[in-house]
Amino acid sequence: MESVWVPLALSLKVAGWATAINAVLGVAAAVALSRWRSPLRDLVDAVLTLPLVLPPTVLGYYLLVLVGRRGVFGEWLSSLGIELVFTWQGAVLAATIVAFPLVLKSARAAIEGVDPQLEHAARVLGVSETGIVFRVTLPLAVRGIAAGVLLAFARALGEFGATLMVAGNLPGRTQTLSVAIYEAVQAGDDDTANLLVLVTSLTCVLLLVIAGRLVPSTRQAVR
């Protein structure tokens, strides 16, 4: 039984960190992209959305090239005492990047769905552009953002490919749920695999139900 709870706890920790980071960076990027008037905007949006369509193994490879020990930033990170390969922090990095577009897309749609008239009203009332973001735009977009954050959490929880490439498969240290499932199946340990799969599925169903309840409500009168 212990072999089930360890990877579950690790998965929750990794997905939790990845989600917290994405909630800040994804929403900030969504605000920036929705305000930015530049021909480069579509290109930046495409690059930031890339993790949604690229195979996770490709992302994992990019990450190794960038932050691996012999990677572009590897030496610099080592000198700062930051070790990402074969660590749970590396799993957080992988999960963060894979789930990032989900927050970005949902948040941007929600932010651009806010009636521009309300933002104009705030402007004329003397509130600064930053004030408008925090006092009008984000409160009115909060449900769409929350739905995206939940989706990102579910995606981070199930991350496999990039995590395996970057963080590896060290039981108790970097072996998350989905990696543990793979190992259990490879080892012919069907009982463990069944339990892990059931726990993962139930968690994801629960998250999707909550996310689904948040999204349609944005069309109703929001408080």
Binding site: D115, Q117, L118, H120, A121, A122, R123, V124, L125, G126, V127, S128, T130, G131, F134, R135, V136, P139, L140, A221, V222, R223
Partner: protein, 240 residues
């Protein structure tokens, strides 16, 4: 107005403020080419731009408020130049001290009546608190008879109350001029007449100039001394 406005209301403007507007703007979209070319000057405290929808009335208001950047021209309110292409002046909407009453009132749906009224008085990144708010806001809440609904959300109040909230919110910031975009179009006819009378009473008790745009001759007759007709993006004839 349920209660007469107290004389100590925090709105003052120098008498006989001149509003001078000379702006032009080309708007080209796939299905519409529109040229706005507006020029007028007024010292009246009760001004109206009258004309059919699509004539450029709202565009003119937005230009005065700073929500639309004209291609050419200048906008001067009293002593202050708000916009002047030649001089490179374009005061941000936040600094224009121009209040704007939107056609559908644009009340913040996530804030209570009291928070809406106090919105422009709260600086920084946080909305005014739900409880006791700024004294000025409380005075306006009383002046517009909104005490009973101060904790309600916009979705929970009537059309007439929404308009009062929008007016209170606009006036609480002590603007130099109030721009009103079709102020009664969101109301049913019976209420329209009542709110028109309320606004007219408000005009006599406040010093602040008001510029109304409307397609309704009754609005113009009740709310303006200086009426200009606008058609196809131009001031058509300075009607009496």
């Amino acid at each position: 107005m349920s209660a007469p406005l107290p004389g100590s209301l925090p709105v003052t403007a120098p008498p006989a403020t001149t509003l001078q507007v000379e702006v032009s703007k080309r708007l080209d979209t796939a299905d519409r080419h529109f040229a706005l070319d507006i020029g007028f000057s007024s010292t009246s405290r009760r001004i109206a731009l009258f004309g059919p929808s699509g004539a450029g009335k709202t565009l003119t208001l937005r230009a005065i408020a700073g929500l639309l950047r004209p291609d050419r021209g200048r906008i001067v309110l009293g002593e202050r130049t708000l916009f002047d292409v030649a001089a490179g002046v374009d005061v941000r909407p936040q600094q224009r001290r121009v209040a704007y009453l939107f056609q559908d009132y644009a009340l913040f749906p996530h804030l209570t009546v009291a928070q809406n009224v106090a919105f422009g008085l709260a600086r920084g990144w946080r909305n005014p608190p739900r409880g006791k708010s700024h004294d000025d806001a409380e005075r306006w809440i009383d002046a517009f008879g909104l005490r009973e609904v101060r904790g309600h959300y916009p979705a929970e109040i009537s059309g007439g109350q929404k308009q009062r909230v929008a007016l209170a919110r606009a006036l609480a910031t002590r603007p130099d001029i109030v721009l009103l975009d079709e102020p009664f179009s969101a109301l049913d006819p019976a209420l329209r007449a009542r709110m028109r009378a309320e606004l007219r009473a408000l005009q006599t008790s406040l010093e602040v100039p008001m510029l109304v745009i409307s397609h309704d001759p009754d609005d113009v007759a009740a709310l303006a001394d200086h009426v200009m007709e606008i058609r196809d993006g131009r001031i058509y004839a300075p009607a009496a």
